[in-house]
């Protein structure tokens, strides 16, 4: 069993599963936004603001942000683990990535719930 202090869940199998569940959420969110953009050419502010003003869209965005947080952590962690061999540099980068993602998560929640 793969177990690591810096990975998202500390368990390789759980990381694997979360990476896939979050991928499906993000895929649905991106496809939804793409369809929305393509079906609203010449978009106006009222349409855009109206979309994010709806409760379901706020919840959808919130779940997508949580998924992005986990997905990016697991993905970047995998890349760093494979290519950055010196432990000190790798852990430093991992901590920076996690702190950035946490900042983005809180920033995103603040943005979504104040629209």
């Amino acid at each position: 069993m793969v177990s690591n202090a810096t990975s998202y869940t500390g368990s390789g199998l759980r990381d694997w599963l979360i990476q896939r569940v979050s991928a499906v959420v993000l895929g649905a969110y991106i496809l939804f936004l793409l369809v929305f953009f393509m079906s609203h050419s010449g978009m106006e502010y009222a349409t855009w603001e109206g979309l994010f003003g709806q409760l379901w869209m706020k919840v959808f965005t919130f779940v997508a942000l949580l998924s992005l947080y986990a997905h990016a952590w697991i993905g970047v962690w995998t890349v760093l683990t494979d290519y950055i061999k010196p432990v000190a540099i790798r852990v430093t980068l991992e901590v920076l990535v996690v702190l950035s993602l946490l900042t983005y998560l809180i920033w995103g929640i603040v943005v979504v719930w104040s629209i």
């Binding site: 499906v24 895929g27 393509m38 502010y45 890349v79 993602l101 983005y104 920033w107």
Partner: protein
């Protein structure tokens, strides 16, 4: 272990099979998408908070340079999505053999190129 094993780490002399290229592009696009998260959040914040911000963003997006940037980012996003779907299919045992893996990689790459062209048509 033999000490004098042949080592070949010169990347320019290694021939990458198609699935390897699809895999490394999946990683590259993923890292790129991670790096642009603040840009996306900032754009959402600007565009959804006030009509003035919305118009500013809309205005900024009309230049050729920003269209090229959006084209690259959207293409990377769609590529990452398609390569991700291929991963999910492989988890189900579809396309993970040597031959079918090559076919899957070819389809993923081909589909992404078609999508990138369509995104370009849509943007311009």
């Amino acid at each position: 272990m033999k000490k004098n094993r042949p080592v070949n780490l010169d990347l320019t002399t290694i021939s990458f099979p198609l699935p390897a290229i699809v895999s490394i592009l999946h990683r590259l696009s993923g890292v790129l998408l991670f790096l642009i998260i603040p840009l996306l959040l900032w754009t959402l914040q600007q565009s959804a908070f006030s009509e003035e911000g919305f118009l500013n963003v809309q205005d900024a997006l009309t230049s050729t340079l920003s269209k090229v940037i959006i084209w690259v980012l959207l293409s990377a996003m769609i590529y990452h999505l398609i390569a991700g779907i291929r991963h999910l299919l492989m988890d189900m045992g579809i396309g993970e053999e040597r031959k079918s893996g090559k076919v899957g990689a070819f389809i993923a790459l081909g589909l992404s190129i078609v999508c990138a062209i369509l995104v370009g048509v849509w943007l311009w």
